[in-house]
């Protein structure tokens, strides 16, 4: 079937069978490799994307269900000012990621800051419970998200919190 949706700000149309998932078309059709395929059962979170403003595991989303929707992958998100806030915050705090979970952690941060611009430590750490990976030190990650939040506040309101 023909599925039209907005992918990283551009209108796209793709042919997708009923058994195709969003992750498959992102990686196979659009060659967007930032979302990683791992468990394919929605457990590990490596394939996370933002669909209509919400963080979702793309391996569980039937491709046809995104018709008319808006999908943002890490490749699209990297072109935004919001990404620069997070990159700056993570760099400042020395957040180190393995690369496999990196896109999911960045998008999870964006989903969190979108909902809660000044998150508490508990909110921050809970935001990553859906991204299963052994790589990142939780304390540094919490500091990185807090620093990203600061960077965003400065960019939006011109002052440090």
């Amino acid at each position: 079937m023909t599925v039209g949706f907005i992918l990283n700000g551009e209108d796209v149309v793709v042919q997708a069978g009923a058994d195709r998932r969003l992750l498959d078309i992102l990686r196979d059709t659009f060659k967007l490799f930032g979302s990683k395929a791992s468990c394919r059962v929605g457990r590990c979170g490596s394939c996370s994307v933002i669909l209509n403003g919400k963080l979702v595991p793309s391996c569980l989303i039937p491709a046809f269900s995104v018709r008319g929707g808006e999908v943002i992958t890490i490749e699209g998100f990297m072109q935004t000012d919001e990404y620069l806030d997070i990159a700056a915050g993570f760099a400042r705090s020395g957040v180190e990621m393995c690369g496999f979970c990196e896109s999911a952690k960045i998008l999870a941060t964006e989903a969190l800051l979108d909902k809660s611009p000044r998150p508490t430590r508990e909110e921050i750490l809970s935001a990553f419970d859906g991204v299963l990976c052994r790589c990142t030190d939780p304390r540094t990650l919490a500091e990185g998200v807090a620093a990203a939040s600061d960077a965003r506040q400065r960019r939006l309101y011109g002052r440090a919190p």
Binding site: C39, E96, C98, G99, I106, R134, T136, R139, T140, L141
Partner: protein, 694 residues
């Protein structure tokens, strides 16, 4: 986000085929044949007989078949490779193949084993333990068990084989590229130089990608050679979790002879490890289990037995700490049991028995370096306010005893302490018998290139090497680069495991740079220097007799863990972890703290919730897909002190949390529950049972 970081799934080649494995449905038996469905055009099934070279993976004196050809050893063992252009069709084809076999009785038990199951054995006696036991005031016995743990590394196992003129290139996430090269060359029957290995992104591996990638690379290489096309094999997460090696299950039985004042006179230890159907690291694991069985304590009379036992289950393998972590859990729990038996303070008992300079290890070797045991324990006790909390929780425990409905009063709390070391480098003869090198070139334009096959699990390690070189040669950081890691362009720097990247590779880079500094204004540029490392341990360590100095470097740590148990759901919650570490010269304070904090989280996971359970010799798919990994929101506050470093040499520290934290945690839970526990993972049911028995 660095888009240059490519994992195996991100790599593809024109006309690339996909491969999937036909696996044994039988835990033990004889393979009679494979009935494949009618193969579509451009699909093929490759069996053991199609392998052009040797059908075996050789590693560290052990061998295992690449594809089973007659004997089936475990459920999930690879017996054929399905190849074709569509990944999902290939996976279906592999699943549709019918394996004919004659089933024999499988063996899944390891604690009680027959001589046929024995893969490796260690026995050693120091002093006269029999006489010591006869004169003992107390004899303290205990059995301790540690469970299997899944690595859950970033990307599941996989490999891509492609042709580049007259070479075969292999992309694979591995900790040891030259082992992959040797294995693939042997399996294909070609010279090692005809195979080029290009390590791809690996992420956090916890030693899960040490030897198994060589086997997976062999699958891809054979399929590529037979089909004459590029071939990629990539396990699904479920497949990987079910059939790849895990941290092995271990049972250790301790028996201690204790004098009237609580002094440890003699210790008997019997360690049994389930290595599954095969494990190239069985010798290393059993060596470390036996060594660690005596902890970091003095004991004049010792008897140790260690058994690596084969079962018809998927291969076990190394996990951060190899066998030391399991052994330290057992001895630290036994130390608590001894202290409780003789009515001693657990800290004072540890401090009075801890190894110091000029003490001898269980293997008889003299410790040449200072051991800051008292300082580390004092530091961690002060940081955590251990003594006040321990006394307070003891008081609460005693006041609870005998009272009905006592647990409704509020949460139960406990605190525990442990002391352990990390041995840097390999032990077993043969594991590190080669010579490993790093090469550097100072170019005419003033830039420096470092060539090493060492695989960085993180970007910070590479940055550390560049910074080390730039400081030694007074260059800008940007002037130092790492050469692309491919086996035809870099020397063999050995396996990236057991903190070797810090203790061996960093040292070789320093030696190379020091040599360049001497030649810099004497010889014309470019100047190339190569420095090699050969393990000195083979001369000093006898693994079979357990004699000599096992490690060239020791790192030490003391840990305190405080827990709280909800009296309703019995779930243990870690309130805080304190670590005091002697890790030698800390090259990057931030990376060291980050590494330890991450290790603490995953060691808590191993001790409390990560459960890889075998059922009929196999891991259940659904259970493995819902594997209970520790998540960030459960990370406790962790405080780390490096004050007591006693060496200017960098040492490995990444495995210390796995050796320290579980024992301290279970001691804390035992205090809270009022009953000594000796098994991990420890869950709510075990705590409830302990409370019921209190």
């Amino acid at each position: 986000m660095n888009e240059d970081r490519r994992f195996l799934e991100d790599l593809s080649e024109p006309l690339m085929l996909h491969a999937a494995l036909v696996r044994s449905p039988c835990a033990h038996g004889e393979l009679l044949g494979i009935d494949a469905p009618r193969l579509p055009h451009s699909y093929a099934l490759i069996k053991a007989g199609d392998i052009p070279g040797k059908n075996r993976l050789d590693a560290f004196g052990r061998a295992m078949p690449v594809l089973a050809d007659d004997e089936l050893s475990y459920k999930g063992e690879a017996i054929a490779i399905a190849v074709g252009p569509d990944r999902f069709a290939v996976e279906k084809l592999a699943g549709d193949c019918v394996v004919r076999f004659r089933e024999d009785t499988p063996v899944f038990a390891y604690e009680k084993f027959s001589s046929d199951q024995l893969e490796a054995k260690r026995t050693a006696v120091v002093g006269d333990p029999d006489a010591a036991f006869e004169s003992a005031a107390h004899i303290v016995e205990g059995v301790y068990r540690t469970g299997r743990q899944e690595h859950w590394y970033a990307e599941p196992h996989g490999a891509l084989a492609r042709f580049a003129y007259d070479k075969l290139e292999i992309s694979v996430a591995t900790q040891w590229p030259f082992h992959v090269r040797r294995t693939v060359a042997s399996v294909l029957g070609v010279k090692p130089e005809d195979v080029v290995v290009l390590p791809c992104e690996i992420g956090t591996h916890l030693d899960g990608k040490l030897w198994y990638p060589s086997l997976v690379a062999a699958f891809a290489a054979v399929a590529a050679v037979v089909s004459k096309r590029p071939v990629r094999i990539l396990f699904t997460r479920g497949e990987d979790a079910r059939f790849s090696p895990k941290r092995p299950a271990v049972t250790i039985r301790h028996r201690a002879a204790v004098g009237p004042m609580g002094e440890l006179i003699a210790l008997e230890s019997r360690a049994v490890v389930d290595i599954g159907a095969a494990s190239p690291f069985a010798e290393e694991i059993i060596d470390r289990l036996c060594l660690g069985s005596f902890g970091a304590y003095r004991c004049p009379h010792i008897r140790v037995e260690g058994f690596a036992v084969r079962t018809n289950t998927p291969p076990a393998g190394p996990f951060a700490g190899f066998g030391l972590a399991q052994a330290f859990f057992a001895i630290e729990r036994h130390a608590d049991r001894i202290a409780e038996t003789v009515g001693a303070d657990p800290v004072e008992w540890r401090q009075s028995h801890a190894l110091g300079k000029s003490d001898r290890l269980a293997s008889g070797a003299l410790l040449k370096e200072n051991v800051p045991s008292a300082e580390l324990m004092d530091s961690v006790i002060t940081m955590s306010d251990y003594r006040r909390k321990w006394s307070s929780y003891e008081l609460m425990r005693h006041s609870r005893a005998g009272k009905e409905g006592r647990r409704k009063d509020g949460p139960l709390r406990g605190i525990g302490i442990s002391f352990a070391y990390q041995g840097n480098g390999f032990l077993s003869t043969g594991t590190e018998s080669g010579s490993y090198s790093v090469e550097t070139t100072l170019e005419k334009d003033g830039t420096l290139e470092i060539r090493t096959s060492a695989v960085c699990g993180s970007r910070e390690t590479a940055a550390l090497w560049r910074r080390t070189a730039s400081e030694l040669l007074a260059l800008d950081d940007e002037a130092v680069r790492l050469a692309p890691n491919r086996t035809d362009a870099v020397p063999d720097s050995g396996p990236s495991s057991l903190s070797r990247n810090v203790t061996v590779v960093t040292k070789l880079i320093e030696r190379c740079c020091a040599a360049i500094r001497k030649q810099r204004f004497r010889d014309p540029l470019p100047i190339t220097v190569k420095r090699s490392y050969r393990s000195p341990k083979s001369a000093e360590w006898d693994g079979i007799r357990m004699e000599g100095l096992p490690f060239s470097l020791f790192s030490w740590a003391a840990a305190v863990v405080e827990v709280e148990i909800d009296p309703v759901d019995y779930e243990p919650k870690v309130r805080g972890v304190w670590l005091s570490v002697d890790g030698g010269r800390i090259l990057s304070d931030r990376k060291a703290r980050s590494s330890l904090t991450t290790g603490v989280l995953h060691s808590i996971g191993w001790a409390t919730r990560e459960r890889a359970v075998l059922s009929d010799g196999a891991y259940d798919l659904q259970e493995m897909l819902s594997y209970d990994l520790a998540v960030p929101s459960e990370a406790p506050p962790v405080r780390i002190d490096f004050t007591w470093n006693d060496s200017s040499v960098p040492k490995g520290i990444g495995e210390l949390p796995f050796s320290c934290v579980p024992a301290a945690l279970v001691q804390a839970v035992s205090q809270a529950a009022g009953r000594g526990l000796g098994e991990i993972p420890i869950d709510a049911a075990a705590i409830r049972d302990a409370l019921e028995e209190e």
